[in-house]
Symmetry: C2
DNA sequence: ATTAGCACTCTACAAGAGTGAGTGCTAACA
DNA sequence: TGTTAGCACTCACTCTTGTAGAGTGCTAAT
């Protein structure tokens, strides 16, 4: 059996109706709803076929049909193909996002948090956004003496990410030494990524350190620690309680598990790292079992990567019920992506 | 009518029983439960009195009684008085907290987050913890040239809180100027709090700035912004989904509102700032309507301030149903407070 | 002052009946 | 051969009814 034109139309009608109502949809509904003039009986036959083919399923005998994961998938794929480069009218609906986003962007963190919140309010789903992952190339390094026994170590990375740490000294050093160390570090390390700091460079530095070898080693450790820390792998979530708005998710204690996942943020990293969408849009839709996160088997997740410069990218994700409004979600994500690009590029100019 | 010994005993029995079961408690239960040997009929009479006096109430006719806010209040006050300085056996139950907390404390943020998580797991309530509010005295200040057109401004505050911001320059300056500015700023500003930087000091600095007055003004603004930002008013929450474990809170959509409040963290500040417990313990119990947060009228909140040095303090809070296990919560808070003190003092030594 | 007994109230739970939405099948139809 | 109308059947949902149980308030006896 094959998924011909008419079957596809019926399937789409079923999915669309179910997205709206959340109720199983029956043959009579479709018979009236669609433009193809067919009686409910004919629809019933087709639906029976669609069920055999695995696109829809019945919660119980004598109930309407709901889309299966496979059904959602074909719907989404089809929808994505159609809308590929079309500029939606919904763009306008969320274009006020622009004003909101571009206004006083001082802290990236704040911006991301606001974005997550805005998206959540706009879509009524839970949202997450990961801070951009920078290449971690050292741009500048500064050691300074805060008081007799503490050395402040500040590292500026590409993308103007600033990290710092205070080091307690075991023995006193003077200002002149600090100056020399600053020159030493900057002349050898600037422009390098963490991976490029190999044994050769390390021995070169420690060789020139003279009596302060211990301290130099210590500072190198600090740099590694500070730069390597996954603090910038930070994830912001918002609208987690939107989950509770959808009965099929708020049941039992699955809802609490879901919210927990969003709160812990730990498992969400898999959504970021696993983004292997080949398409140019950077959008990926996970439906039900497709999601890499365990407790989201009853959800759909739409992720999109935004990119600031080459290699500097982050991920936005929307988590909702399987019957989420895919079209709106995708449009919203695209708009936000555009705005983020604008903001960040202005900021980096 | 007066709350005599016997009435108090009965009230306590009612509260205690209700804390355990969450069900309205009837006269017969009390008659068997307590040591005072009274028939259920007598208890009924007393309960009727207690209801008139406003300590307990009936959800509906022919149901048992549940404590009113006033009833909880007397119970808590009484309990607090008794347990004032007693070392509880529960101390031991959560003493493993110590190992957990003291182990690798590199980031204060992480420590606080872990503490919140630990407390939430331990008590099965939602928890919040605010980062300590430091005095904001400037300890050290460092300007450095990252590249031709960007100046890095790092401020170290008392308590070794480090803030930074990158400034885009409008015109190029040389290394020597930066050095001079560093000396200027450090010699005038170090040791001052934000409040102490008055007009006199500002004019003094700008006067000495010469041709770089614009830049100096800019840096002063940055300092004010960076130091004044309430980023350190950060609040960490955990176990918000524990709310859903208590039917009286997970009803309707109040639960979602509650979780929202905890997620937004905005309104929680009132719990921190309003802490005016006169007692030495620093513990404050808000029952129902007493809480300053709107959406927590159906909850009880227990807060405690921890202090690291003079004036450097933060707040821990536990949010649960009115029928929370007050004794356990108070004990847990005390233990955590102790541990935090130990950790922070070791860290600051 | 305390208690035993009784009538009354209200909730929670279960069983049963009715309703409606929806299906599957069969036979008629173009 | 594809489409449609009609009919019997299924199942969830809702409303009603009955019942058991817990608890109270009141009264009379101790």
């Amino acid at each position: 059996m094959e998924l011909d034109e008419r079957k596809l139309k019926i399937l789409k009608a079923i999915v669309r109706n179910y997205l709206e109502t959340g109720e199983p949809v029956g043959s009579r509904t479709i018979s009236k709803y669609t433009d193809l003039n067919l009686s409910s009986a004919t629809i019933r036959n087709e639906m029976s076929d669609l069920e055999d083919m695995g696109y829809i399923l019945q919660p119980h005998t004598s109930a309407g049909r709901i889309p299966s994961d496979k059904g959602y998938r074909t719907y989404v794929d089809d929808m994505m193909r159609e809308k590929a480069d079309e500029i939606s009218q919904q763009q306008q609906e969320i274009s006020d996002m622009k004003d909101f986003l571009t206004e006083k962007v001082e802290k990236v963190e704040e911006l991301l948090q606001n974005t997550a919140k805005l998206l959540a309010n706009n879509t009524n789903y839970a949202t997450m956004i990961s801070a951009p992952r920078f290449a971690k190339r050292i741009k500048f390094l500064q050691l300074s003496l805060v008081d007799d026994m503490s050395l402040l170590c500040v590292v500026v990375l590409d993308g103007n990410i600033i990290k710092n740490k205070l080091v307690k000294l075991s023995k006193q050093i003077d200002a002149e030494t600090v100056l020399k160390l600053n020159i030493l570090f900057n002349s050898t390390l600037n422009g390098l990524t963490m991976e490029e700091i190999n044994l050769g460079i390390i021995t070169k530095i420690t060789g020139q350190a003279g009596e302060h070898m211990e301290l130099v080693k210590r500072v190198l450790e600090i740099i590694a620690e500070v730069v390597g820390s996954d603090e910038d792998m930070k994830i912001y979530t918002s609208g987690t309680t939107n989950i509770l708005k959808y009965p099929e998710l708020s049941d039992n204690n699955r809802a609490s598990e879901l919210i927990n996942v969003l709160e812990e943020k730990q498992q969400l990293t898999s959504l970021i790292t696993e983004n292997n969408s080949e398409e140019n849009t950077g959008i990926q839709v996970y439906i039900g079992d497709e999601t890499p996160v365990q407790n989201m088997k009853d959800c759909s997740v739409v992720t999109m990567t935004y990119e600031i410069e080459d290699g500097v990218q982050g991920t936005i994700g929307i988590i909702g019920p399987k019957r989420m409004d895919y079209e709106k979600v995708v449009e919203s994500l695209k708009t936000v992506k555009g705005q983020l690009d604008v903001v960040f590029k202005n900021n980096n100019e």
